[in-house]
């Protein structure tokens, strides 16, 4: 599924990486622990989290994730935005809580590791 399509369907706000919205999203993964995403995140994942810390960008780069969505209207910290901008990583913000957002992503056809 195309990232731009997800952004449009779920009215996500784009905070960085606007030029990379044509990326293909392969799966979704949700976690608020960096170490868990380092262990289980996979290339092309859309990462759903409430973490706005700059390490999010580093972990996303390391795991070659497609994009990061912050839930509950949480905004990325200034350092996070700067790093994401440098790396061209799409950082998105949803007003929805994680549960609702993930439900809607699922309804759009996005699946996780377990299929």
């Amino acid at each position: 599924m195309n990232l731009q399509q997800i952004v449009n369907e779920l009215a996500l706000q784009v905070r960085s990486g606007r030029s990379a919205l044509n990326r293909e999203v392969r799966r979704g993964y949700a976690s608020d622990l960096m170490s868990d995403v380092i262990a289980h995140g996979q290339e092309g994942d859309l990462w759903v989290t409430l973490h706005g810390h700059q390490n999010v960008v580093a972990v996303a780069a390391m795991k070659e994730l497609a994009a990061v969505v912050l839930v509950n209207g949480r905004e990325p910290e200034p350092d996070t935005l700067a790093k994401a901008g440098e790396q061209g990583l799409p950082l998105l913000v949803s007003e929805l809580p994680a549960f609702e957002l993930i439900g809607r992503l699922h309804r759009l056809g996005l699946r996780g590791i377990a299929g």
Binding site: L33, H51, H53, N55, A58
Partner: protein
Amino acid sequence: MRTLRADLHIHTCLSPCAELEMTPRALVSRACSVGLDLIAICDHNSAENVKAARRCAQERGLAVIGGMEVTTREEIHVLGLFHDQEAVDGAQELVHAALHGENDPVAFGEQLIVDEYDELIGQTSKLLIGATDFSLEETVEHIHRLGGVAVAAHIDRPSFSLISQVGFVPPDLPLDAVELCYDELPPSAAGLPVLRSSDAHRLEEIGRHSTRFLVEAATLAELELAFRGSNGRRILDQ
């Protein structure tokens, strides 16, 4: 008795997220120029630049406490401050055995080990940004078993703090102090000694927050007395 100004949370170029300018010599020099009497070196999950910092500081009359900022498996940052190099080495051995994965310097940053002349000795390949296998309780226990002091780091931060990960300071957790990097004290921390530190990752941040102690000497043992308000020692501005 004298008043000491301490910044008990300073990173070096060993921490992947710290600037490379944070060499022991440079940070000691900066600490002296901003009027600090005592600093603690607390890199993420490692302590390989403590010795170099201590050696540089000796020449300048600055006291250095060896420490480490341990990441618990809940991704809470806890500072361990130690009385001697043997305890620092013990902490490092324990933590490294409980820390998995390899650093990716492009994604996270370089992890440089340097000597007291700022000469590069090597790099740590450990994933220092990662989390250890230790729970919060186990981490505090390990620090205490090494004779060290356990401090909940930057509890006024939105990430990697006891407050961000747990939501409150558990009343039965035997912490020795809590640390603030801004100035906001959560109500549940009342009762524990409060340290104000910079959590400096770049030179200009050193000493931006600090704690004043009324003590006899610049040692961790004296700070522990001040935590308890024993024998006339105390933390000023509590």
